[in-house]
């Protein structure tokens, strides 16, 4: 079944990628993560008093497409003028990633900290490696990211995938 019924409806990426990989000859459909329950905690203090951590899926260094990936971090001051995204799946026909603020909005977060919307931006941002394996993310990368965010003493976390 095609997901192209409406010209303006959100793209159904799970279906779209299933059809694409089938055309590439991959026989087993990828099983996307699904959960019936979702954790939720409330802020313990106003956002204006919180230190915010930022997580992106871009990288601070160029990666080959099949190169093993690892958690990576970079300073938020000064904001990076370039981050690496070539090995990730994003719409390379429709747009580009030359402007890091489109997916790692450090300059905007610094401005919003100066304005008092958040207390402050953490001194580092963190790069989450993308993995097909749910287990690799949950048992290796998520705990590592959590540890680094604790070291940064963050209160809340903004995550931005490409």
């Amino acid at each position: 079944m095609s997901d192209r019924k409406s010209d303006s409806a959100p793209v159904l990426y799970m279906q779209r990628s299933r059809e694409y990989y089938e055309a590439q000859g991959f026989e087993r459909a990828y099983r996307y993560a699904h959960h019936d329950t979702v954790p939720f905690v409330r802020l313990r203090k106003p956002l204006a008093a919180c230190t915010l951590g930022l997580v992106t899926t871009a990288s601070t260094y160029p990666r080959a497409s099949l190169e093993p990936r690892k958690v990576d971090s970079g300073p938020t001051v000064p904001a990076p003028t370039r981050l690496y995204t070539d090995d990730l799946s994003w719409d390379k026909q429709a747009t580009h990633t030359d402007d890091p603020n489109t997916f790692c909005p450090i300059e905007h977060l610094q401005a919003l900290a100066a304005e008092g919307v958040i207390g402050r931006l953490a001194p580092r941002f963190h790069c989450a490696p993308t993995e097909y394996s749910h287990r690799a993310t949950l048992e290796k990368d998520a705990p590592e990211l959590h540890q680094r965010l604790l070291e940064d003493e963050v209160d809340v976390v903004l995550l931005v995938p490409l």
Binding site: M14, H35, L47, L158, P161
Partner: protein, 124 residues
């Protein structure tokens, strides 16, 4: 995998007492996984925080994303951004499979499997 990865990480952080917000563009993947707070920006994958060099739009999106920390009162809280990309051609084109590219995609798949197999054979 970007949207699934951050969805899983957001769930992990939230389960460890850190409130999270995701700003992203793959609605189905994020909602299928199930996350606490999500600002959906209906843009081509790659620029969830706004069009390149459009500082005003980017700041509106980031500001709206941050507002979810204080407005959400239950998990699976998804808000749709009002921002628009400007044309819809990308929706049809992304990962499109048609009669013109079917043979090329099959060759790409073969090449990818061969490269993966070669990598696994390498001693290091």
């Amino acid at each position: 995998m970007c949207h699934q990865t951050v969805s899983l990480v957001a769930r992990y952080l939230e389960a460890h007492d850190l409130p999270t917000v995701i700003i992203g563009s793959a609605l189905d993947i994020v909602e299928h996984c199930g996350v606490p707070r999500f600002l959906f920006v209906d843009f081509p994958l790659g620029n969830p925080c706004g069009k390149p060099w459009d500082r005003a739009m980017q700041q509106r999106i980031v500001r709206q994303g941050l507002s979810l920390f204080e407005t959400a009162d239950a998990p699976r809280h998804t808000v749709y951004s009002d921002e628009t990309w400007g044309d819809d051609e990308w929706r049809r084109r992304y990962m499109e499979v048609n009669d013109d590219n079917r043979a090329a995609l099959a060759r790409q798949g073969e090449d990818l499997r061969r490269r993966r197999a070669n990598r696994e054979r390498r001693p290091d």
